[in-house]
Symmetry: C2
Subunit: 140 residues, 2 copies
């Protein structure tokens, strides 16, 4: 039950928070903006303010329930954190996002941070490219 996750995060179990978490769990695509969440809620008949969506997403991020990404679209996108770290490949043509995880790269990053006298806290690796899906508008 979602309620436990919210409670564990030290937050009151309110309707907006439950609905937003439910939505993120059911959401395809997995990477959505605050605006997306807001609109999806409206479509489901939930009258939740945009400001609340932003606040809740930020709180969920602080609690480790969701991860925020800054792709190159001018707005942040959020995805439910399923406990397993991964990085992203984004298609510059159709916006499709795929996930991957590579032990070699993860390892090297830690080493590099250490070599530079940094204690690694987080990292963001995004590969931009053209996917070759038949549905991608960039195919000629």
């Amino acid at each position: 039950m979602d309620n436990q996750e919210i409670r564990k995060a030290g937050l009151k179990v309110t309707l907006p928070r439950v609905k937003i978490l439910e939505l993120l769990e059911a959401s395809v695509p997995r990477h959505v903006s605050a605006e997306d969440v807001y609109k999806m809620l409206l479509e489901k008949g939930e009258e939740i303010g945009l400001a609340t969506v932003y606040r809740v997403l930020t709180q969920f991020e602080a609690a480790g329930l969701v991860t925020r990404h800054n792709f190159e679209e001018g707005h942040a996108v959020f995805e439910l954190d399923r406990g397993e770290h991964h990085d992203h490949i984004v298609c510059v043509l159709c916006g499709k996002v795929e996930e991957f995880m590579d032990a070699t790269i993860e390892e090297r990053q830690k080493e590099i941070a250490a070599e530079h006298g940094f204690e690694m806290e987080d990292h963001s690796l995004i590969i931009y490219g053209r996917c070759n899906k038949p549905s991608c508008p960039g195919r000629e």
Copy 2:
């Protein structure tokens, strides 16, 4: 001479463009926001509009003269492109940015993109951590 670079990019050699390019070449730190550039120009007595700074930086980016990064500060930062690709380590406490380049990671990225059916076009790797400089406010 800067003028050639601007001309090569197919842009008219105008005062704002020359001044901005000069500033980027001389600038320390190397990673500056549009607002930073605007203010630095003002301090030098150059009355160049903020809109122009944005336009010129975007054109320079399109021309491959500068690179735009989306760190986690809510605004883009730009740096002069010196022809050699590199990635970044950003201190989450003091904002300090260091650069690095790792052949192993570069290599793996290409492979991963290919494995996922993508043609890699670009990528962005940012490590966030705490630097251990004596000047960093995060030291306790």
